[in-house]
């Protein structure tokens, strides 16, 4: 299975390596670095590279490359999924996944990797299990550690074997028992020049933060589960009960986790919360062009649209821009040609507008394609699909937990073609 793992930063430096079988020389990464050089963007590096003796499977995440070395046949998704788990685990332990964080916690990351794979085959990937083996750092503990010279390895070996419920650690105790659920829906859409919807769908996810003592058995039901077209679950959810009764019944892991993701069954009836009026034009003769973008609310179900942001990848031939925004502020990076207009809250009375001129490099031909606009937004307290949590019941424990559900709608891959 997985032989070795190398963490590589964007400049090509290998800053961590871990081998689960015989050591593979880090020169194997050269093939990868070569491919990385060739690619224009880090995302363009092929995830699977075939070298004479090894296969390199890599992911690019949080500005880091996770490169694994494989020697024999293995499902590529198996490796990719695992690498993402590694990244998620680092994120989970240290709050973020970045080069500095990994370098700061080198030993702990190394130990975690040791626990996650045995001989290249995943051993413990559930965060609850890992945290029992190796405790995550907290500010208090890191202070204590520096003073006393102890580390975060659990000093007592866990004795209870969580074999029945592998995702939940045993002996959880809280004084305040609470269970929060965030229903986050993202609208993926492609709108064409005239504002017609080419493609739109709603993808949702139920994020849970459950801090309950003991072994609670939760049942979450929806008012309208029929809205859900396609679902995927955390392993704790009982498939059978979902199939028969459309309720989510589960013994939750401790802490934060993604309970389910879903796709909403509403082929063409997706409410698009904003409309975008835009005109971007370049003049054939003179070396400049104009940009004029207005964003307004469309179907918002009476809620305010917040956090609106328009991102445009301007053509490479743009030399400079001179724009004015009636609301919010814009930033422009001339290196990446990335224009970001941060609007904030959308005011229906006074629609935000961004207009001004673009100047092209002298002599450069007029760009053929107008750049498409990527929209970001969020609407609090609304699930755009209309999905509603009906109730949450708890069995198995005596206390009364505090329960809460929050709804958010966001723009996912929301693109306006121009």
């Amino acid at each position: 299975m997985i032989n070795s793992l190398f963490l590589i930063n964007p400049s090509g430096e290998i800053f961590l390596e871990k081998h689960w079988k015989s050591v593979v020389s880090r020169s194997v990464c050269d093939y990868f670095l070569e491919a990385k050089e060739k690619a224009l963007e880090p995302e363009d590096v092929p995830p699977v590279i075939h070298t004479p003796h090894h296969y390199l499977i890599s992911i690019y995440r949080d500005k880091l490359f996770f490169l694994s070395v494989i020697q024999t046949e293995v499902p590529p998704l198996f490796v990719i999924e695992f690498l993402h788990r590694v990244a998620e685990m680092i994120q989970d332990y240290f709050g973020e996944c970045s080069e500095t964080v990994v370098k700061d916690h080198m030993v702990m990351v190394y130990e975690l990797l040791e626990e996650m794979l045995d001989n290249g085959f995943p051993l413990a990937t559930e965060s609850n299990v890992l945290k029992e083996m190796i405790r995550p750092p907290t500010i208090l503990r890191s202070v204590v550690n520096t003073l006393t010279g102890t580390s975060n390895v659990g000093d007592t070996l866990p004795t209870g074997q969580p074999s029945t419920i592998p995702w939940r650690r045993a002996g959880v105790r809280y004084t305040n028992n609470e269970a929060y659920f965030d229903v986050v829906e993202e609208i993926d859409a492609i709108l064409d020049q005239s504002g017609t919807t080419v493609f739109a769908e709603i993808q949702g996810v139920v994020e849970a933060c459950v801090k309950l003592s003991g072994m609670p058995d939760l049942t979450l039901s929806f008012m309208n589960p029929r809205l859900l077209d396609d679902v995927s679950f955390h392993p704790c959810v009982r498939y059978k009960l979902w199939e028969s009764e459309r309720v989510l019944s589960f013994i939750p892991p401790d802490g934060n986790f993604t309970l389910m993701t879903y796709h909403v069954n509403a082929q063409n009836l997706v409410a698009i919360p904003v409309y975008v009026k835009q005109s971007i034009s370049f003049f054939e003769c003179g070396s400049d062009g104009r940009l004029d973008v207005t964003v307004g609310p469309k179907q918002t179900m009476g809620k305010t649209v917040e956090g609106v942001m328009v991102t445009v990848h301007l053509p490479k031939t743009i030399l400079s821009i001179n724009l004015t925004a009636t609301q919010g502020s814009y930033t422009y990076d001339n290196g990446t040609k990335l224009l970001v207009w941060d609007i904030g809250k959308l005011n229906p009375q006074k629609l935000p507008n961004l207009r001004g001129s673009l100047s092209l490099q002298a002599g450069a031909p007029k760009p053929e394609e107008n750049p498409s606009l990527n929209i970001d937004l969020n609407i609090q307290q609304l699930a755009i699909s209309g999905l509603k949590v009906n109730r949450l019941d708890m069995f198995g424990e005596k206390y009364k937990p505090f329960k809460g559900v929050k709804y958010i709608t966001k723009a996912g891959k929301f693109q306006v073609r121009t």
């Binding site: 995302e43 046949e73 998704l77 999924e81 695992f82 916690h105 102890t150 493609f199 498939y239 053509p315």
Partner: protein, 1123 residues
């Protein structure tokens, strides 16, 4: 290692740990001095007595390892600490050992005894970690120790240690392949392990050590299938992939009957459009031939019955499509793609499309697989076409793959939408992507004849694009398209000829030249001129262009030598002195061939044929065609090359290997018949319950009763006798009962169910006779048991005969069966007693003996049972049976239960008790009659003789078709017969006398309105049409609130079909359930629809010409839904 990186490492090392710098000045952290210095420092710390110092040192050492720095010289100092009491230090020492033991074998041996001690530790985690480290030390000399340790750990009490043992197996194998045989023994032992924790790891070991020993899987196959859902995600992937291979060797191709049709039909639709212009006749011929082969295929084909184990695998993997782990989803998807019947493969599409929202690497892999699948099964992804639309922010490699999928999905109906999308893509700034789009357009144009001209025009327009790459790519594609029909497009060729002045991309220039040469007859004036221009620039051209210039010259010389003779000579002379020997060669060869000299050989007269032969148009194929010979989802598939260790996916066997190998208990029968297969299933059941590790007697008894009720509610049509169907329902019930045991988390729930399942037994007596017959609700369980037995006995007889016949025949068969039944009733009685004994014995022997035709169906017992089961279980069973049934419309049968009514009580009947039920089958002698099944039980001490019907007092119009006289009914025996009654579509009772040789009893049969109808099959549209015609007075609408248990489609369906003999009409919306039937006598339509709303509110609509029937039916259904 470079100096700079060493430097960095060190700095990182000291800053990372963030501790006081034990006499180590960071400024001196150069490469030359401090390595040794620092290592001395570390050694000192390791030798100290303080754990904190040791820990610090170990941390720094591990940080060095993590950075890839060599720390091997510290080995002696570190290995001393392996016995350290401090767990943290110990752990880090382990980490170090695993990394460097291979390099320092002798020293590593010092640590072995510690691990051996650790293997005996009472704490399972210490045992496990000792084994883990011991097996990770790649030192050949300890192989025997490892072997011993693995063997011991494989029978450890703790599943966690056993899991570690499974992990250790491949480690030892890679160290010393000689140990294979011993290791296989361990694997065999661990494969039999019943915990989910071990399953994934041991299968992984199996895959690495002995994937060819498929025989080891047989005995564990069913257990693995059943455990699968509870295994951790990574194990699931490995198990599913292995089972895919296993299934390919053990089961028959579920599509073997269709494979002929499919390949013929599918391909035809695809290419048929190509040659629609002038090849119609040929096609007709082809079609006829195809039909012939189809016909022969149909004649030849044997009935395919899916092995229940095959079904088990498909069913148990399906829920995993909902996994959050992309690898699991992909594994299930490939399993379905490779193993499922064609009609069922579609379920994976949705899940795969879901993965498209995941990380771009996941998308990349999934798209590759979707591309392969979409060639074979285009229809599957067609509904999700838009999910493959490309965003400008996608990475190029994703864009290209999406394009590939879009192209594969293109057909006559969606091509216009796809082309419109492509139009947007062509404007992209990403030139590689644009080039790919142009290729894609070319492929669409070749595959779909209707749009060829549109595409060609579009591409020609692109020729004026400013971007040279775009133009070049268009030229290449146009060239390919023109080759298909050059006559009609000489203007395009002319246009392209003009482009030679501007286009610089060699491939494009070469393509244009080739086109002009090939079709110089169509452009006789321009061609020589192009050659003239080319001759001028010859020396500056790229090699491929030069070759094409020579070709052009040669072709022109042959067709138009007058104008081009000199030019050709000139070009050939230039080529003669070219630097490239290929060009010189080509020139020499062509000169010899075309220029007639005295020496020129025999070939020159064929020159024209050689050069101007008709060239076949190129076939633009997907690069993903036929990639599915690699197992999908595998690395080899992705690379389109066999990766090391890839296990080839075997072809389906011609004949299925003996399925009995998967039986865990050795069955006593040897012959293989369909009947036997059923029995095998019986044998499995104790195994299933065992596999959960909780096989108390109550447990199995419970599961048995579950099974019984399940099989009943699942099919509800025991007598309809279609073999495969009842088999399925039987499986369903199996799974349901297993599932209950399986999911440990549900224990609580299960207990509730247990209680519920038990309760009905005493209550069952009063339940069926609710209503008119309460007065007779005395003890009568004894006769009933007797009756149920004899009924099923007979059922079994008739069924076993018919079970071999195919599903399609079930329609006629049911008629036959009723006849048979009569025969049986007539002839059986004398031979019964011994058989019955047999039966009883069997029953006692194993409670799990239930089968779909076993005693369970005795309706009187089962109906109430079912009502008491938690609705979840019922719907569970329903759901399963529905999903399985959906495939063939003929199997949509009323899934309700048959209610039994009392006709004559034992006491009033002087020992003879008679019950009847409406069997819901067409009454074959007269289709206008309702079939009533009557059961006689003689509980008297003497035998009853000549049972028959006499003196029917009927309302006008009613008719009775009596059952044939029963000559003898011995004491304690039961017999059942079928009679037909024409109720004239009214609920009036039919009164008649039931006579024995001594007495006459006045009895009456009153039908509930729901039994006055029979199901008919309709499509949704027909239903809507008919409903539209039955409005106004004929429509009755009622609002109701569904009872909590009854919410959900399955529950509604079940209750309605129990209340009335109707069949389900397929419906697009899942909020609405529709049913259709017609009255038996007059054949008037009865349409029922139940629309559910939120909070259990629902609306019931009944449309029926006969208003009385309608009103009564509404009442009955309302009661059924709200009871």
């Amino acid at each position: 290692m470079s100096a700079s990186s060493a430097f960095n490492d060190e700095k990182g090392g000291s800053s990372n740990v963030g501790e006081p710098e034990y006499g180590h000045d960071p400024a001196s952290g150069g490469i030359f001095s401090s390595d040794y210095k620092r290592h001395d420092d570390l050694k000192e710390m390791l030798d100290s007595n303080k754990d904190s110092l040791k820990l610090e040192a170990m941390k720094r050492i591990v940080a060095m390892i993590a950075r890839g720095k060599n720390a091997s010289d510290l080995f002696p100092a570190v290995v001393k600490n392996v016995a350290c009491k401090n767990i943290e230090v110990k752990k880090l020492v382990y980490v170090y050992l695993v990394r460097y033991a291979e390099e320092q074998q002798d020293l590593a041996l010092l640590s072995i005894s510690t691990f051996q001690r650790g293997l005996k530790d009472p704490n399972q985690l210490i045992r496990a970690s000792a084994l883990r480290v011991l097996s990770s030390i790649r030192v050949t000399i300890i192989v025997p120790i490892m072997m011993l340790a693995i063997k011991e750990a494989a029978s450890d009490m703790s599943p966690y240690v056993r899991k570690t043992a499974a992990h250790a197996i491949p480690k030892l194998y890679s160290l010393d392949p000689e140990q294979k045989d011993c290791l296989i023994e361990v694997i065999e032992k661990l494969l039999a392990d019943k915990t989910t924790l071990v399953a994934g790891s041991v299968v992984m070991a199996f895959e690495e050590v002995c994937p060819e020993r498929i025989d080891l899987i047989h005995k564990n196959y069913r257990k693995l299938c059943n455990l699968l859902i509870d295994v951790e995600e990574w194990g699931q992937v490995v198990i599913i992939n292995m089972l895919t291979r296993y299934a390919r060797t053990q089961f028959l191709n579920p599509n073997m009957n269709e494979s002929l049709l499919e390949e013929g039909g599918g391909e035809k639709a695809f290419y048929g459009s190509d040659n629609d212009d002038d090849t119609d006749d040929e096609e007709d011929k082809e079609e006829k031939e195809k039909k012939k082969t189809e016909a022969t295929a149909i004649v030849k084909r044997k009935p395919y019955v899916m092995d229940p184990d095959h079904r088990l695998l498909l069913r148990n993997t399906k829920p995993l499509l909902q996994s959050r782990n992309a690898a699991v989803v992909m594994a299930v998807a490939q399993l379905y793609f490779h193993l499922a019947p064609k009609a069922e493969v579609g379920v994976i599409a949705k899940a795969l499309v879901r993965l498209m929202r995941s990380h771009s690497e996941v998308q990349y892999v999934v798209l590759q697989n979707v591309a392969t699948m979409s060639i074979k099964r285009r229809g599957m992804f067609e509904p999700y076409l838009k999910s493959f639309y490309i965003r400008s922010t996608d990475p190029t490699q994703i864009k290209v793959l999406k394009l590939e999928v879009l192209t594969n999905l293109a057909n006559e109906t969606n091509i216009s939408t796809i082309l419109r999308e492509f139009q947007t893509y062509i404007k992209s700034n990403d030139k590689d992507f644009v080039a790919a789009t142009i290729q894609a357009i070319g492929r669409c144009a070749t595959n779909i004849g209707e749009v060829r001209d549109t595409c060609l025009n579009g591409l020609v327009q692109l020729l004026s694009n400013r971007d040279e790459l775009v133009v070049a790519e268009s030229v290449v594609v146009i060239k390919k398209l023109l080759q298909m029909q050059p006559e009609q497009h000489s203007d395009i060729i002319k246009h392209m000829a003009k482009l030679t002045d501007n286009i610089q991309v060699p491939m494009a220039r070469a393509s244009i030249l080739w086109l002009i040469g090939e079709y110089c007859e169509h452009v006789p004036k321009i061609a020589p001129d192009v050659l003239r221009k080319m001759a001028k620039t010859f020396t500056n051209e790229e090699d491929i262009v030069k070759l094409q210039i020579i070709n052009l010259a040669a072709k022109l010389y042959l067709t138009n030598s007058k104008q081009t003779k000199l030019l050709t000579q000139y070009v050939l002379n230039l080529a003669k002195y070219d630097q490239n020997y290929d060009i010189r060669d080509r020139a020499r060869f062509i000169r010899q061939l075309i220029v007639p000299t005295d020496k020129s050989g025999a070939l020159s007269k064929y020159a024209k044929k050689l050069f101007l032969a008709l060239k076949p148009a190129p076939v633009l194929e997907s690069p993903f065609k036929d990639r599915d010979h690699f197992q999908l989802g595998s690395l080899s598939h992705l690379l389109n090359a066999k990766a090391g260790g890839y296990q080839v996916l075997p072809d389906w066997p011609e004949a299925a290997p003996d399925p009995s190998v998967r039986n865990v208990e050795v069955p006593e029968w040897t012959k293989c018949s369909s009947r036997e297969k059923r029995k095998e299933k019986k044998a499995d059941k104790p195994f299933y319950s065992d596999s959960e590790g909780e096989s108390g007697p109550t447990e199995s008894a419970d599961s048995a009763s579950d099974t019984a009720s399940g099989s009943e509610s699942g099919s509800g049509s025991e007598e309809s006798g279609s073999g495969s169907e009842s088999e399925e329902s039987n499986e369903d019930s199996e799974s349901a009962s297993e599932e209950d045991e399986e999911e440990e988390g549900k224990k609580k729930k299960k207990n509730v169910e247990k209680i519920k399942a038990r309760k009905p037994v005493p209550e069952s007596e009063s339940e069926p006779s609710s209503g008119e017959e309460v007065k007779k609700s005395e003890k009568k369980s004894k006769p009933r048991i007797g009756s149920s037995e004899s009924e099923s006995e007979e059922d079994e007889d008739s069924e076993s005969e018919s079970s071999e016949s195919e599903e399609e025949e079930s329609e006629e068969e049911s008629e036959e069966e009723t006849k048979k039944k009569k025969k049986t009733t007539a002839s059986k009685p004398p031979s019964k007693p011994p058989k019955k004994e047999n039966k009883k014995e069997k029953k006692e022997m194993s409670l799990l003996d239930f089968d779909d035709f076993d005693p369970a169906p005795s309706p009187s017992q089962v109906t109430p049972l079912n009502n008491f089961l938690s609705s979840s279980l019922v719907t569970d069973l329903e759901g399963l049976s529905l999903t399985d049934n959906v495939l063939s419309p003929t199997t949509i049968v009323p899934s309700g239960n048959l209610k039994t009514y009392e006709l004559l009580h034992r006491i009033t009947g002087e020992g003879l008790s008679v019950e009847y039920c409406f069997s819901r089958q067409p009454f074959s002698p007269d289709p206008h009659m309702v079939a009533v099944k009557i059961q006689f039980t003689n509980s008297a001490t003497s035998e009853a003789k000549s049972l028959h019907v006499e003196d029917a007092k009927l309302q006008s119009g009613m008719r009775i078709k009596e059952f044939p006289e029963i000559e003898v009914l011995p004491a304690g025996e039961t017999v059942s017969v079928v009679m037909g009654i024409d109720f004239c579509d009214s609920t009036q009772a039919a009164n008649f006398q039931l006579c024995t040789h001594t007495r006459k009893f006045f009895v009456s049969i009153q039908p509930p309105v729901g039994e006055l109808m029979m199901p008919i099959f309709m499509t949704e549209n027909e239903f809507k049409k008919e409903q539209g015609q039955l409005m106004g007075m004929n429509e009755i609408t009622e609002k109701l609130t569904l009872e909590e248990k009854c919410q959900g489609e399955h529950a509604v369906v079940q209750r309605v079909t129990t209340a009335a003999n109707l069949s389900r009409v397929p419906c697009g919306s899942d909020k609405e359930c529709r049913f259709a039937g017609k009255t038996v006598t007059s054949g008037s339509l009865v349409l029922v629809s139940v629309v559910t709303k939120e909070d259990g509110a629902a609306q019931l609509t009944v449309n029926c010409e006969k208003m009385v029937i309608g009103t009564m039916l509404v009442k009955d259904i309302l009661q059924a839904l709200t009871q």
